[in-house]
Symmetry: C2
Subunit: 341 residues, 2 copies
Amino acid sequence: MHRVEAGPLRRFTSQIFAAAGTPADIADTVAEFLVRANLCGVDSHGVIRIPEYIEEIDAGHVKPSERPRIAKQTATTGMIDGRWGFGQPSGVMAMELAVKKARKHGVGTVLAVRTNHIGRVADYTELAVRHNMIGIAMTNCGPAVAPWQGMDKLLGTNPMSFGIPAGKEDPIIADFATSASSEGKIRVMRTKGMALPPGWVLDRDGGPSTDPAVLYEGGVLQTFGIRGYMLNLVVETLGGALTGEGVSDEFKGVNGIFMQAINVKHFTSLRSFTASIDKMVKKMRSSRPAKGFTEVLVPGDPERRTMRERELNGIEINDAIWDSIMQVAKRFGVKPQTTGA
Amino acid sequence: MHRVEAGPLRRFTSQIFAAAGTPADIADTVAEFLVRANLCGVDSHGVIRIPEYIEEIDAGHVKPSERPRIAKQTATTGMIDGRWGFGQPSGVMAMELAVKKARKHGVGTVLAVRTNHIGRVADYTELAVRHNMIGIAMTNCGPAVAPWQGMDKLLGTNPMSFGIPAGKEDPIIADFATSASSEGKIRVMRTKGMALPPGWVLDRDGGPSTDPAVLYEGGVLQTFGIRGYMLNLVVETLGGALTGEGVSDEFKGVNGIFMQAINVKHFTSLRSFTASIDKMVKKMRSSRPAKGFTEVLVPGDPERRTMRERELNGIEINDAIWDSIMQVAKRFGVKPQTTGA
């Protein structure tokens, strides 16, 4: 197990991408997003992705020096062309454009196409929240998930995030896959030798299983119940059909993106809105736990806790993942600044 | 058990509301929405509500002759004041206004306040779908649901619906409570003497139960897992904080409404979009069922099936519900045109 501080890990990550042909500012953005995922405890979207992203560059799928552009826009809507560069700058541009339009007109809606993996969708709704707006971000992805009651790989893990600004309290940041789990989380659990909860995967014969390995032996992810299936189709629609990139197993993109910013001030007073959210957050946290539980949290609390702990104590990265990153680093002649065993 | 045809039931329902002081056009709308809920199999939102709505009129909460108005609007957003009339006309006005704005500007977003119960939220997204738009409808409601891991009644059942237009195939109509169940469904199951699946309710001590009665003895509804909790807070925010009607157990309204119409044509060609949705619907329906299942459906299919069956054979209403409706009808001197025992 390696324990690495966020700052050095960020610089190390950025240097790897820079050495692979990525302009410094883009390399910094990608590194910032990956390490923030680790800080939040979402290790599936953290530096574990470095070798994968480098492979994508090698294969020509990620064009590291390309920058996104606004392909078309109106007063309240927009479409970003990611030009197959790194996904994160496309995601940032999409939400920033949505925020800009919402500032003037109340609601801004921006799609993005030809983007690579944009990482945690919560990063983009947090961006809207910093502007005192409600942020909505969704992205579809390649087929890995079966429809409700089905066993064929026809849907993406299709995550959604909602960010809600508060006043004095922490914002509410909801972020979840519409599958029962992300593929990345199962990958991490397999690496750690853990069993899955029931309802996460089906084996190659369409039967239930708790073994993460079955996913990589012809198995398939499940949606989180029938409601997960419904929401999954919504993301499939907004990210695939509305963007024109295609749906289900004919989706031609990597991430088909839908983002929306809702400007609170356009609809009500910001003060009364944030007072309401503060009250709601406090009511949730102070409510009586059900039997078997010790506390009630709001969405975003678990990530914030982990972030405080990891900013203090560093990020633990297991040997297999660390070795795969070091192999890539060695290839580009990049050395980590500080690592502890 | 009574079996009633939809047409006569609609007229009978409308006549009751008209006799209670509701203008004929509003009475027809309310009757149409209640009976459509029964046709779809969502009996919790059907004519079972007649006695409740009449009580609301008696108590002065529903002002049957009031009509909604547009309180404020911009090019792309709006706010409806329901003036405490029946909720359904407010819901229709909100989505129709959203559609009108989306026709010109791509996305229309309309809130509604001071509305009574608007019924099934799917009715409003279906309205958007008829205009070849994606419809989104959410409403918060009075506190009945506990936060995730909690046991206090702090959240509404807060349903959401998404409607997606197709070409030759049926549209996708997703409609669900962010609680594990609506209160109405549990009411129906109690009436029928059925047990609940686990995870739907906690008893008055915060312990799990499958007895519908515990809900009416100090118990509380649960969210559908942690994701249901996240989405519930989103609806609480859009319906309560953004509308200014208040959140959690301080919500001052009955339904705080958020509706959005997304004009497909604004973003992509309608033909390619509907071709994508058709393809997705077909792929889902023709995919291999998992072990233990015989078919894969798309959201909206179960309601459409029930509707075809009930349009043909009539709507079954159990004696207790029918008697409660007949009591109200008698009071207003209204007689059902046809009923079979």
